[in-house]
Amino acid sequence: MSVVLAPVDAPGAIGRVSPVAKLGAAVVLSVALLLSIDPVSAGVALVLEVLLLPFAGLSVRQLALRTLPLWIAAPSAVVATALYGRDEGAVLWQAWFVTVTEGSLDLALAIGLRILAVGIPGIVLFATTDPTDLADGLAQVLRLPARFVLGGLAGLRLVGLFVDDWRQLALARRARGVADGRGPVAATRRLAGQAFALLVLSVRRGSKLATAMEAKGFGSDAPRTWARPARWAWRDTVLLAIAVLVAAVAVTAAVLADAWELVLA
């Protein structure tokens, strides 16, 4: 699989934190920041997160590479919202049907900061999480059903094979003489056909894998043991506490600044 998807072997404390704690921390921050769309809560959270980044166990290069999608998504969202977002307050700039107002600019800033404030901890925490360890944690710490967790984990391993299959299917279509059509209609039809072929292949791969797993006793009613212990430790509580603290400070700051606006309200 690609370099960007493989987990980083993190040095230091973060490498020993339970993946469940990382998941919990990411969920706490996301939920808190998605409750309101205002620049203050996202901005405060982002500042605090940036201060914590040196402890994330990622090199600057890894950090840049993995957060790259955010640095593309956030500015695009800012520009789009500023130009086309709901207009409110003084008009700052206008051309044709595009109007930039104080309101749309405010909203743009709030959304841009939010993408970074939710995205960065999510990406950073999962960059150092091995899927197998996460599955161990979900099953042993959170007591989720083993069949469900391990089925998902085994399925994840097939994703790499699907990438290879997809490339091979594209080459085969060219070789079969059916890859010429130009324009969006032909491209869509070709993509749909290729996606269906991938679906057929993946079902076949999946059922073979299921047979191999069943032959190793997976899915029987016998109680299962776990070769790798996953426990909740004090450092997991610390990480979760930090996340709760960051979320609390951000929300409090927004409320005090009178910027807090509950999206559900």
């Binding site: 197998t132 984990l153 003489g177 797993m213 190793k216």
Partner: protein
């Protein structure tokens, strides 16, 4: 059962897996199975007893139900909704489904058996499912890895294993269960010669050391003769056709086995009779030239897998590319086929082949490839596009814009030539391995390309399909087609190749594969 003197590695260590439980006893009595969606039984009227510690090679024609029997013994055939069983089949006097862990199963396809991302975890997986205590799991894992000769750290990524290593990993996963019955379903069919020997020797060593009962299904008999002490041949119509000592069965049932596609060691691989080229004839015309060609996936900015390849593809001539797994053979084939852009150097089509389409095959339109270079992929499933065999064959000719009568004429001729007529309305995905291979070759022949590129055409094929394929390629060469084939099948190389390109010397080591 005493250790067999013919076993090549009877002195194996088999540390953790050693002789804890004796081999299992298998009894089939009037046993049969019919898949829910089929009319015919996959197996019927089977009476068979395998004593503890026996090592059985299970043979039979495609469709005789060998894999069905193994799946049933492994307890993974499914319940009543999957099909109907008749008679009885037991492992140590109990239903196979109640004997999980007593039975270990290794399948043909290495890709589809690895469950977890790290080598140690993958071996431990079965023990976990069976509820083996944690303290006991890791010693078992280490012992199983040692038994199969997989000298890797527990956290080695399973994605970075060769085919032979993956199959030994699957074997270790089965051995960690400490099975009394070990079932191997064509475990070496998809491996290169080195991988075949690795896996075979690991099986021989552990079977000898643990005394487990062994049942192997495999077409390539000679590989397994040193390991097994009994051969059972299933009859296509149900029941057992022959059963006894390997040397006796192979002699007595020679013709039946040859007909069933089994590689009988005393029967040499048939070489096709090629037309003699007159001594004074002009040398065959070149169609494609590779000049210091470097290949890789993803164009000039991606790392090369193999470099400095010089070769000329000529009409009526077969060029076979060989080399170990991972040497970049497939990448070379796909590049020569005009599907991947060269990473460096040049691939140039001569005017005779290009016919106005330009010198660079990768720039040709998809339709222009059809009459110039046809590609048979390693896995036929990748190239199937249509819901029936007949329509699959029509795809290429229709893309060329041929009139309907001409399309029908070509399709009918190919259905007959490749023995697919009775399957014309079948879905390509439901065909057997040999039928899929024949169809994938036929789809390419439908547009009569001047160059035929084949990626491991004999991979996993039985002897009958192999013979047909080799004969067909001989005919095509005589008709003037050029062939580029990737293969590590020594007999195929001997039968087909006019020229051999060994890629080993051109391969870029894994550690040095970074972008220029």
């Amino acid at each position: 059962m005493p250790d067999d003197a013919r076993s090549p590695a009877a002195s194996g260590t088999a540390g953790g897996a050693g002789g804890v439980r004796p081999g299992a006893r298998v009894v089939a009595h009037g046993w049969g199975w019919r898949h829910a969606a089929r009319h015919a039984h996959a197996v019927r009227g089977l009476d068979l007893v395998v004593e503890p510690g026996e090592r059985v090679l299970l043979l039979g024609a495609s469709g005789a139900g060998k894999s069905t029997l193994l799946a049933a013994l492994a307890g993974v055939l499914g319940g009543d909704e999957e099909g109907d069983a008749e008679g009885t089949l037991t492992v140590d006097d109990r239903e196979p489904a109640d004997q999980r862990g007593r039975v270990g199963l290794v399948l043909q396809d290495p890709d589809s058996q690895v469950v977890l991302a790290r080598v140690g975890d993958d071996v431990a997986f079965g023990c976990e499912n069976l509820g083996v205590p944690r303290d006991e799991i890791w010693p078992r894992v280490d012992a199983a890895l040692a038994d199969v000769g997989l000298d890797l750290p527990r956290d080695h990524p399973t994605t970075q294993l060769s085919g032979g290593q993956q199959q030994r990993l699957a074997l270790a996963g089965a051995l960690a269960l400490r099975p009394g019955l070990l079932l191997l379903d064509e475990p070496t069919a998809n491996l290169d010669p080195a991988g075949v020997v690795e896996v075979r020797d690991a099986v021989a060593r552990t079977a000898a050391a643990t005394g487990t009962t062994l049942v192997v299904v495999e077409h390539r008999v000679s590989t397994w003769l040193p390991v097994v002490d009994r051969v059972v041949v299933l009859a296509a119509g149900g029941g057992v056709l022959a059963d006894g000592r390997p040397d006796e069965v192979l002699v007595a049932q020679r013709d039946v086995l040859v007909d069933a596609g089994v590689w009988v060691p005393s029967v040499p691989a048939a070489l096709p009779a090629r037309r003699e080229r007159p001594a004074d004839a002009a040398p065959p015309a070149p169609l494609l030239r590779a000049v210091q060609l470097a290949v890789g996936r993803g164009g000039r900015r991606r790392p090369a897998v193999a470099t400095g390849v010089d070769a000329v593809v000529r009409e009526g001539t077969a060029l076979v590319v060989t080399g170990p797994n991972g040497a970049g053979k497939s990448t070379v084939a796909l590049t020569v086929a005009g599907l991947l852009a060269p990473v460096g150097g040049d691939l140039v089509a001569d005017d005779a082949l290009a016919a106005g389409a330009g010198p660079s095959p990768v720039r040709w339109r998809s339709r222009q490839l059809l009459t110039r270079v046809g590609t048979v992929f390693q896995h036929p499933e990748h190239q199937f596009l249509a819901p029936t065999v007949r329509r699959e064959l029509a795809v290429g000719p229709e893309a060329l814009g041929l009139p309907a009568e001409e399309v029908a004429r070509r399709v009918d001729a190919l259905l007959a030539r490749l023995r697919l007529a009775h399957l014309a309305e079948a879905n390509p995905f439901t065909l057997s391995g040999g039928e899929k291979r024949r169809l994938s070759v036929a789809t390419v022949l439908a547009t009569s390309p001047r160059v035929l590129v084949l990626d491991e055409p004999t991979f996993g094929q039985d002897a009958r399909t192999w013979r047909e394929l080799v004969a067909l390629l001989g005919e095509l060469l005589d008709e003037g087609a050029a062939i580029v084939a990737v293969s590590h099948d020594a007999e195929f190389v001997a039968a087909v190749a006019d020229e051999v390109l060994d890629l080993a010397a051109h391969t870029v080591p894994l550690a040095e594969r970074h972008a220029p």
